[in-house]
């Protein structure tokens, strides 16, 4: 089996994969990797659910509490000033990471909140809130919101609800039998009535890159807003919302080696400053009377209340961590791991990998269905030898239903993953059917 020559992680990279010495150095920065599970060293292959945290991220969050904790954007004492500066520095770090302006970066509690934020802001515009500035974004009966059939529930349900609240119609671009977005069908779904296209950058089930190069121009031609769920791409490929020509992009911090409780919403400045707020309260206003309030521009407009200060600081440290590793080198390493994983799985009888063929661009992730064995049982066999992998529908029930599976077993790599760990996972999966008394090709 030769390694796939297909473009990987945003394009063929010239960079060298991490050497084994470099990988050892990276691994040493993740304290949890020293743990044993059931007498085996932990093999963590569930980074797509949540990434492990390097010490420096944990320390950055703790150091803030030890040395600089104070409420931000209020109070005049020295600590408050220092905390505010650290928090806004974190925003700046995210902005440079995305190559956007600072005031286009909203901190949320997670990606799900980011998607709800934009859906609710548009919903509020549809109720007439936000006045003339927001009116162009208002939805009404006859308008269409378009998603794809492979979306994570977080990029599906907020749009179902928005459609229900506004009278708009939710449509979806189907996937083909392999689980790849059906690009040909997209032209029949995205059209003059489309007002919003909400699509993931990388599927959390198949690991495939979405065909944004086709979908985004279709949405643009229709004059629709484009909302990108970048949760599964942000840890693996450079995320450049402007180059991708999307209006909104969301991702979660915890999948990017950062803390839980922090997410990011990027929005084009004109859009954010035109939309009415989602959550309301303190820290987001200019003037408040007993009758009403006037709102600050973004980002404050969308960050009411005391924000996630320590988490934002931890996320900024995580971004510096991946930035120092370099996305070109991360991509080169993960390309090899992904190809190795898929090649290994392709050799196994009774194993079906969800998604398009081995050559389709994807991150180092694969979801498998083991013939005759429920994913929960398969995952247990891996857990028994210290391998942490995800089992279930991965919050993508419609995609699993479409592919005739109730659940799957997902292997996903991170920057600390080694080729040996991938081999261990493949070997463990190879043993699953044997353990449950199923052998041979057609058992």
């Amino acid at each position: 089996m030769t390694l796939s020559p297909a473009p990987y992680a945003g394009g063929v990279t010239e960079a060298a994969p991490f050497s084994s010495a470099e990988l050892e150095h990276i691994r040493a920065q993740f304290p949890i990797l020293r743990r044993d599970l059931h007498g085996h060293p932990l093999v963590y292959l569930d980074s797509a659910a949540t990434a492990q945290k390097p010490s420096r991220v944990i320390e950055a969050e703790a150091t803030f509490y030890w040395e600089a904790n104070a409420a931000v954007h209020r109070g005049a004492h020295t600590l408050a000033g220092e905390a505010t500066e650290l928090y806004e520095d974190a925003r700046g770090t995210v902005a440079r990471f995305l190559a956007v302006n600072d005031d286009e970066v909203i901190f949320t509690s997670n990606a799900t909140e980011g998607l709800n934020l934009i859906a609710y802001a548009i919903g509020n515009a549809s109720l007439g809130r936000g006045g003339a500035a927001a009116a162009p974004y208002a939805l009404r009966e006859g308008d269409e919101i378009v998603v794809t059939e492979l979306e994570h529930h977080a990029n599906l349900i907020p749009w179902q609800e928005l459609a229900a609240r506004t009278g708009a119609t939710l449509r979806y671009i189907p996937v083909d039998d392999s689980g790849a977005i059906d690009v040909d069908a997209a032209t029949g779904v995205i059209g003059a009535r489309t007002r919003i296209l909400a699509v993931s950058h990388v599927s959390n089930v198949t690991g495939a890159h979405s065909p944004l190069e086709t979908l985004v121009p279709l949405a643009r031609a229709a004059g629709a807003l484009v909302v990108l769920d970048a949760c599964q791409s942000a840890p693996h490929l450079p995320l450049r919302p402007r180059e991708l020509d999307v209006d909104v992009a969301v991702f979660s911090g915890h999948k990017l080696y950062g803390p839980t409780g922090i997410g990011v919403l990027y929005g084009r400045a004109e859009l954010l400053n035109a939309l009415p707020p989602f959550l309301t309260g303190g820290s987001m206003i200019t003037t408040v009377t007993m009758e009403g309030a006037e709102y600050l521009p973004a980002p404050q407009r969308f960050e009411p209340g005391t924000p996630r200060i320590a988490q934002a600081i931890g996320l900024a440290e995580a971004i510096r961590f991946v930035d120092e590793l370099g996305f070109d080198r991360i991509a080169a390493t993960e390309h090899q791991l992904g190809a190795r994983l898929l090649a290994g799985l392709a050799e196994l009888p009774g194993i079906r990998v969800l998604g398009a063929g081995i050559d389709a661009p994807r991150v180092a992730l694969a979801s498998v269905v083991v013939d005759g064995v429920h994913a929960h049982d398969a995952g247990q066999v891996l857990d028994n030898v210290g391998i942490a992998a995800r089992v279930g529908h991965h919050c993508a029930q419609p995609l699993h239903r479409r592919l005739g599976a109730t659940a799957s077993l997902r292997i996903s790599a991170g920057v600390h993953t080694t080729a040996d760990e991938i081999d261990q996972a493949v070997a463990a999966i190879a043993g699953v059917r044997h353990f449950f008394g199923l052998t041979g090709e057609n058992a």
Partner: protein, 155 residues
């Protein structure tokens, strides 16, 4: 026995492959339970004696992991064995079984199921060390409890 073999004892493997009590019929009053995490599903019916005081049969259908399916099968087997021995369950008997089962399964391996009372279903004791799987094993039993609660509310 390794941890994995404690969980997947031969009895459990056998019941998941050849389930007992499988098959619902028109008119069964059922409770549908699902584990949203992994999609395990069990739909279960209690078939009562003509006077409505005893459980003569537990019938079910479902899909999912071997633990959830074997547990439903073992539960149906236990009900059938007790009924055949002339000890068909009253609602209180059934509730007592459910309570004991839940207590054992939530005990993290501290409280084994009584083999005298639970028969082959006692093989499910091993599940209690696997916290993530307790919900799978409980599915059928929760369905039975739901039916008991609804029955009591209607009485």
């Amino acid at each position: 026995m390794s941890g994995l073999e404690q969980l997947y004892q031969q009895i459990i493997m056998d019941h998941s492959k050849s389930p007992h009590g499988y098959g619902l019929t028109e008119g069964d009053v059922t409770s549908h339970q699902r584990n949203p995490v992994c999609g395990d599903e069990v739909t279960l019916a209690l078939r009562w004696s003509a006077d409505g005081t005893r459980v003569e049969e537990v019938a079910w259908e479902g899909s999912g992991c071997s633990i959830s399916q074997a547990s439903a099968s073992l539960f149906a087997t236990l009900a059938a064995e007790d009924a055949d021995a002339g000890n068909a369950w009253t609602p209180d008997d059934l509730q007592a079984f459910i309570d004991e089962f839940r207590e054992a399964l939530r005990s993290r391996g501290q409280i084994p199921l009584d083999e005298e009372r639970f028969g082959d279903a006692a093989a499910l004791s091993g599940v209690s060390k696997f916290v993530a799987r307790v919900k799978c094993a409980m599915l059928a039993w929760v369905a039975a409890e739901d039916l008991l609660t609804r029955r009591a509310a209607e009485a």
